[in-house]
């Protein structure tokens, strides 16, 4: 497993000290005991609307892909970015594969515990599409906005 971080549209291998992780449940039960924690793990069956607490103290929120097919964390990531304004790192853990990283990045993930063999290849996967049809959490202007821009320039 390698840790990759997204920066300006590319993935870079990252080396860091192990995070002080705490699960959402443990932290809610006793926040004082986990005052040193820097990373929060949230399971993918957790409703973010029910958390009702300040996430901004954590530098990393770790979301889970128990299997690549289980796509709940895509929605969780978008909600963290777009609804709850979380600006720290959102890290994908679990079954994180080359061909899903593009979707993850669009939903607001910027850290990846990548289980595939080739980090450079994962970075190439991010560049397979030049455009996006719909807005998401990555701030890429959707195709229709580009069309408007072009029409205005013409």
């Amino acid at each position: 497993m390698k840790l990759l971080k997204l920066s300006r549209g590319r993935l870079f291998p990252a080396f860091e000290e192990p995070l002080a992780e705490v699960s959402l449940d443990a932290w809610r039960d006793n926040p004082q005991e986990h005052a040193e924690a820097t990373a929060l793990t949230i399971s993918n069956d957790t409703s973010l609307a029910d958390i009702k607490c300040d996430l901004h103290g954590f530098s990393v929120i770790i979301l889970d892909f128990p299997a690549f097919k289980d796509g709940r964390a895509y929605s969780q990531a978008r909600l963290l970015r777009e609804r709850y304004g979380y600006t720290g790192e959102i890290r994908a853990r679990g079954d994180v594969l080359r061909d899903q990283i593009f979707f993850m990045a669009r939903c607001g993930f910027n850290g990846f515990e990548f289980s595939g063999p080739d980090a450079d290849d994962a970075s190439a996967a991010l560049e397979e599409f030049s455009f996006a049809y719909q807005p998401a959490a990555d701030g890429i202007a959707p195709v229709w906005r580009k069309r408007l821009g072009r029409a205005a320039a013409a």
Partner: protein, 551 residues
Amino acid sequence: MYRYDEFDATMVAERVAQFRGQVARRLSGDLTEDQFKPLRLMNGLYLQLHAYMLRVAVPYGAMSSKQMRRLGEVARKYDRGYGHFTTRQNIQYNWPALVDVPDLLDELADVEMHAIQTSGNCIRNVTSDQYAGATAEEIEDPRPYCEMIRQWSTFHPEFSFLPRKFKIAVTAAPHDRAAVKVHDIGLILYKNDEGETGFEVIVGGGLGRTPYVGHTIRKFLPKEYLLSYLEAILRVYNLEGRRDNMYKARIKILVNSEGADKFAEAVEAEWAQIKDNGIDLPREEIARINDYFAPPAFETLSAESAALEEKKAADKDFARWVRANTVAHKIPGYAIANISLKPIGGIPGDISDVQMEAVADIAEKYSLDEIRATHEQNLVLPHVKKDDLYAVYKALKEADLATANIGMVSDIIACPGLDYCSLANARSIPIAQRISERFADLGQQEELGEIKIKISGCINACGHHHVGHIGILGVDKKGEEFYQVTLGGSGAEDASLGEIAGRGLSSDQVVDAVEKLVGVYRQHRQDNERFLDTYRRLGADPFKEALYEAA
């Protein structure tokens, strides 16, 4: 028709390039079949009983002549000279070699076609009324909304790994030809009492092993909010839909276990948060897409055609074809002409390369370059001048495409069944062929009127048996094929699920069974009522009695 601009063309070309890389990784052994499977499934490539099968998207069933011609060429070059139109208005190729698929996709991309999201647990190809833009029934053309949905759902990053596949259908006519009530989301465009147009939003319908008719969760959605509302539904489903059991993972299970009211509340709450987040298209983009669907250059003609009447009087078979296969067009002097892909004794939905090219030529010459595929596995020439109908008929006849049986007992929907499919328990196609042969006489079929027979080779219900007036489901009983008959289903605006008639029948008995059911109908029908109306009026008993008496 919609035409790609450079953005659309780039997206499709990049998808082919991406898939080419994935295929290369598979062929070189970098990917195991297990790792490759989810990737190929995102692009419509299934591994069937004997070979790979590629499902090509025909967005909302609309094709140009150029596209149809290319589909024929592809069938000849990469397949065994035929293709198969499906109940999702798509076309499938049954025999492509894996190594050829990227080139095949390149050839499709040249004519603005692709296989994106024709499988996998994502938002599938959106389907619609095959008469869109041609029928006077519709309040507005539904195709622009389909195209908006196509673009919004393409590579949607949040909704590419849903609990299960997701199908959306749109209609804008009171007569529902798109089966919207048995889709994950069905949208009906209509005008409300205030004179505004918007959508009735129906969620949680579906067939498969747990069939449901959908529930209306919003009576009226202003049409400019279409995409944000869809996004809200999909988000609730993505987060809340079951993932522990693939047979309970469709949205219909969520909606029906929570209750439609509670589900609707969750959607409304989500929508309230996102409706003004810039998901919906601005007016200019809606207008841009609408422009592609502006009515083609219709001529000003008189409503009646003397030439047509003359040919009808002179050629009885032609007159029958006109009665059975053509319907009213919104423009005077034009007709909508259906092309049956159900020749007597044929394979429902199959069409040869040469036939595809013939259809392309006919559409180019006589139907303003447009062709539609229907969910009942037929084709449509949407804009034919009545004056030209005879020429169209002759050309179709020449190509063996002039069977006059639309909506009739031999116009059968059948899934590929055990002849192709790795999930099937029983064969569907030979049953359809034998029923069709039993009722070969077209005069008799016309006299029987509308009877919808739908055949599925397993409980996954790809042949829509639950909504057949007569449904036939293949089951495996100790290694032998058996068929369970259901009665009284409908996928139209009067949607209902068929009821099981009784114990399963052998492959030999099932064709007789259909004949017996039709016999009961004949005996009891009043005036011009359809088989389904007679069944609904009388109930199941007389039909069951006929099926199981002394059998």
